[in-house]
Amino acid sequence: MAIVSIDGSNLTVVLQGLDKLWALKSRLTIPLAHVRGATADPGIVREPKGWRSPGAHIPGLIVAGTFRQDGQKVFWDVHDRDKAVVIELRDDEYQRLVLEVEDPRAVVELIESALTQR
């Protein structure tokens, strides 16, 4: 589970509980200028994820950490696929973030409205 918030001109992602250990990260800060959009997408969890490096991948249970596929880095932190949100980035270390959040619809609206106001 991750908590997503907007702090000035940055998007902040704080990982909760044991996910900090699995993902080997507790916090991500991304400039809003690097954020292209957000989408609630439960289906993405069924997609191939590529190579884990580093982090934990226990198929069906934990997907957390950085994955590499086709030369792109994707950050995953998802247990419950129904709560998955995809945040697409540009000019960033990561191509996209796939996060489990408490309220996917609210997170999508938060990010989309912050992008519209820019």
């Binding site: 292209r36 959009g37 989408t39 997408d41 995809v86 697409e88």
Partner: protein
């Protein structure tokens, strides 16, 4: 595997128009889009950023390409009024405008602005093709309101010969069929 990486953006946007008008905005999942557009999920996100980004691209395509192609000849006087109305009410773009206005209009300023522009284009073209005397009692933009209303009713009566199906808003000398 084996699907081409490159894709025709116009073909994708045309197919996405149909998917969104069938399922609505909220009701269309990324799974529906990936399947219907025959794209990799990663390519979809890379090209459009989000479902919202794709929807905006679809709306812009609808205005700049599809609607403009129908409307431009009418403004320069090359289309008869009945032909224009016929083309407009049959256009899938009108359904897209309905979905966009109902679902996204109140909370999405970008979508609302695009739909307003589209309605203005429709109003100007229908007025140019079939001018009506100014009437203070008529709602504005009268022609766009009529067309959207007709399209809304047509969605309820898919059979073309249903007795309660609404008539197209042409008037003057053209015959109704």
């Amino acid at each position: 595997m084996g699907r081409p990486r490159g894709f025709s953006e116009a073909a994708v946007l045309q197919a996405a128009t149909e998917i969104f008008t069938r399922g609505g905005y909220a009701g269309t999942s990324v799974d529906d889009l990936v399947k219907g557009l025959n794209l990799h999920r990663g390519s979809l996100y890379k090209a459009f950023g989000s479902k919202h980004g794709l929807f905006l691209a679809v709306l812009r395509h609808c205005l700049e390409r599809q609607l403009a192609a129908v409307i431009q000849p009418a403004i320069t006087g090359d289309t008869a009024a009945s032909e224009l109305i016929d083309k407009l009410t049959r256009a899938p773009e009108l359904d897209l405008l309905l979905v966009a206005a109902v679902e996204r209009g109140p909370q999405d300023a970008e979508v609302a602005a695009l739909v307003r522009t589209a309605l203005l284009m429709i109003e100007q073209a229908t007025e140019a093709a079939d001018p009506r005397p100014a009437d203070g009692a008529t709602a504005r933009p009268a022609r766009a309101i009529e067309l959207l209303g007709v399209r809304l009713f047509e969605r309820l009566y898919p059979e073309p010969d249903h007795p309660h199906r609404p008539t197209r808003p042409t008037r003057g000398s053209t015959k109704e069929t």
